[in-house]
């Protein structure tokens, strides 16, 4: 849009839309992208943040050990579910339900078992990676429905920003192969374009699928119309015409209801049975390993344990079906004889449902093999960099205007401060979150809340700090802090009860080793930015200084990204 109201071409108006839709919720989207990217490694983060689990090393006897432990802990339970250790999890996560327990999550009891000994572990209280995961789509400290609406709206703007960005860049592919370093604004634009185009399919899919995941909340009007507002009927048909479950109509979709009904049936059956000895799980595991040599067994569910009706269901590790929401294949055994049983057939799935499942599975990384997960993570990093460079461009682009004015307009300064606080500050806050995890006393009352309070306090300080410091200085200081905090985390891990990098690599505990290595990579990335900031020359060119002679220090020093002499000349030739 032009101030003088004259008509403009489509590319110009799309460029305008791209700039403003990107900027207005850019800081929020940056945070969503950043925390969402880390969420691809949510299990690993949670493992790292519970150093009490680090000594748990699985072996061949782990499954039997877990079931024996459950026999001692919850002999009367109606179901046991053991999630077995794998490359993303170091201990056994066990849950069970007592007879007559409330349906859904409320009635489920949980514990953590050492994979090597079967002992119950008492990990410190932490939200772990779940905090970052939850924050990335429902924020924090507000009703979660508000958070989801805010993030949903920002995601909608992100979709607009992506599409208008594609329209703006007519030479999208030649742009991708163009990088002109150390040319000020040009370089920033090139970096923004390259990161945007590099992962464009990822950006489109992750944004659209984010909306699809929230669609029952954001866009309920199709269900309202076709089902007369009966969303339970919709979710019931979605599951393939099984009976409708009350309470299934949540934003998470229809998953909870089915689980509850299975458990309710199990509750009723278990009471009528007398105790019997269960078959050993070892042969079942062997049979399953032959079936799934690549992934092995992910989890074991025992229904009606210790009764004549007992069944053992083994689920393949790492769900492989993209179409069916990452549902894994299962094997069913008789719990007493150990004989295999016929598992129920999965219903066929229609293409719209398949489409929705594929996009949501992609977003959640549900199916992902380690390699794919790393690709998703790297795409997320690229997207995060794209968002950051986009917001920095807004400032860099306006440096000539600022020089002409000889002062820094209030709005420009605001964007600068928010850029530092949102981009560098989030890194500092995230690193601090991990530090608080180890520095707060393990038995502190409500300690998971204190970790989160620490995160937000540090982030708030990082928003205050650039108000008090020159722009460029603020970037450098926060980048330095982030680099140091990330780099020392693996050291802190070894010193504060966790398994050190040497030990985890030796034992093949990749969930913990992977976190430490990722922190070193993040330190390297932030360190590189810091080095680059120190190297590139500050402030404006002599020519520009002459024209803006009475410039206040704040205005000239604002040139965080001010170009070199050569770059400035290029920029002035091509405004």
């Amino acid at each position: 849009m032009r101030v003088d109201g004259k008509p403009e071409g489509l590319r110009q108006s799309m460029s305008w839309l791209h700039t403003w839709s990107g900027l207005l919720l850019g800081w929020l989207l940056y945070a969503v992208f950043f925390t969402g990217t880390l969420s691809f490694f949510r299990n690993e983060i949670t493992d790292w943040m519970r150093p009490e689990l680090h000594q748990s090393v699985p072996d061949a006897g782990t499954a039997q050990r877990g079931l024996d432990a459950m026999q001692a802990i919850a002999p009367k339970a109606t179901t046991w579910t053991l999630s077995l250790p794998n490359e993303r999890q170091t201990a056994i996560e066990a849950s069970w339900r007592e007879p007559g327990a409330a349906t859904g999550r409320a009635g489920t009891l949980r514990t953590t078992l050492d994979a090597g000994t079967g002992e119950q572990l008492q990990p410190r209280e932490t939200r772990g990676g779940s905090f970052l995961y939850r924050f990335h789509f429902e924020l924090y400290a507000m009703p979660r429905i508000w958070g989801r609406w805010i993030v949903g709206f920002a995601t909608m703007l992100m979709l607009v920003a992506i599409i208008s960005g594609v329209i703006t860049h007519k030479k999208i592919f030649s742009d991708f192969f163009t990088f002109r370093p150390r040319k000020g604004q040009r370089s920033w634009l090139d970096a923004h374009n390259a990161t945007a185009v590099l992962a464009l399919p990822f950006h489109l899919v992750i944004t659209f699928s984010g909306l699809v995941l929230l669609m029952n909340m954001l866009m309920p009007w199709g269900v309202q119309t076709a089902y007369n507002g009966d969303s339970n009927a919709y979710f019931s048909e979605l599951r393939g015409n099984r009976q409708a479950q009350p309470g299934a109509a949540n934003a998470n979709g229809p998953r909870e209801g089915g689980r509850a009904s299975r458990q309710a049936n199990a509750d009723a059956d278990a009471d009528a049975n007398t105790p019997v000895v269960m078959a050993a799980v070892g042969p079942m595991m062997d049979a399953a390993l032959q079936q799934w040599p690549a992934h092995g067994v992910g989890s074991i569910t025992v229904n009606a344990p210790g009764t004549a009706r007992a069944t053992v269901e083994l689920r393949e590790g790492g769900g492989s079906s993209l179409v069916n929401r990452g549902t894994a294949s299962t094997l069913l055994f008789d719990g007493v004889t150990g004989e295999p049983r016929q598992a129920p057939e999965a219903a066929a799935i229609s293409w719209p449902r398949a489409t929705s499942n594929v996009v949501s599975s992609l977003h959640l990384g549900r199916f992902a093999e380690p390699l794919v997960r790393w690709l998703l993570f790297l795409s997320g990093v690229v997207g995060t960099i794209m968002a950051a460079t986009g917001m920095v461009i807004w400032v860099v682009k306006r440096l000539p205007e600022r020089r002409k004015l000889g002062r820094t307009p209030y709005g420009h300064r605001l964007v600068e401060v928010l850029n530092v606080g949102a981009i560098a500050g989030l890194s500092v806050a995230t690193a601090s979150f991990f530090w608080f995890n180890r520095l707060l006393p393990a038995e502190l009352l409500g300690r998971s809340d204190w970790e989160i309070r620490g995160f937000f306090t540090v982030w708030a300080l990082c928003l205050l700090h650039p108000m008090l410091r020159p722009h460029r200085q603020a970037w450098r200081e926060q980048m330095l802090v982030a680099t140091v905090l990330f780099a020392l985390l693996p050291v802190l891990n070894g010193l504060s009860g966790g398994a050190s990098l040497l030990q985890t690599v030796a034992h093949g505990q990749w969930s913990i080793a992977g976190f430490d290595l990722m922190m070193l990579a993040l330190a390297a990335l932030h360190g590189w930015v810091l080095w680059w900031l120190a190297r590139s020359k500050p402030t404006a060119t002599p020519a520009a200084r002459k024209t803006a002679a009475p410039a206040k220090p704040a205005a000239s020093d604002a040139g965080l990204l001010a170009p070199h002499a050569a770059g400035a000349a290029v920029m002035e030739q091509q405004p």
Binding site: G5, L211, V223, Q224, A226
Partner: protein, 108 residues
């Protein structure tokens, strides 16, 4: 990526801001109304083409986000604010009418 660096008189700046605000309302509010109407119309309309109810609903809901994005770009892309409003209001009204006529138990 042209931005006007020169500063126009206050009155025209005010007018500019009003036009941006008008288009923003058209994009955000109007775009949502259009998307909602398209989700509703699609959920019942696709069934007329032989789609199962649940599939029609899901397809229409997913498409609604695409509709929203296009509506937002239309609001800022077309020549005048009036045209922006018309281009969103007319299809929204039409789709709402379709949804209303085809909705189970509503018109019958």
């Amino acid at each position: 990526m042209q931005t006007a660096v020169n500063h126009p008189p206050a009155a025209s700046l005010l007018g500019y801001r009003a036009r941006v605000a008008s288009r923003a309302v058209a994009a955000i509010g109007g775009g949502y109304a259009l998307a909602a109407a398209s989700a509703a119309a699609g959920a019942v309309g696709f069934q007329a083409f032989g789609m199962a109810r649940v599939d029609a609903t899901m397809t229409a809901t997913m498409l609604a986000f695409v509709v929203y994005a296009i509506a937002a770009m239309w609001a800022f892309g077309c020549a005048t604010a009036l045209r922006a409003w018309l281009g969103i209001a007319l299809p929204a009204g039409t789709l709402a009418l379709i949804a209303w006529v085809l909705a189970p138990g509503a018109a019958a």
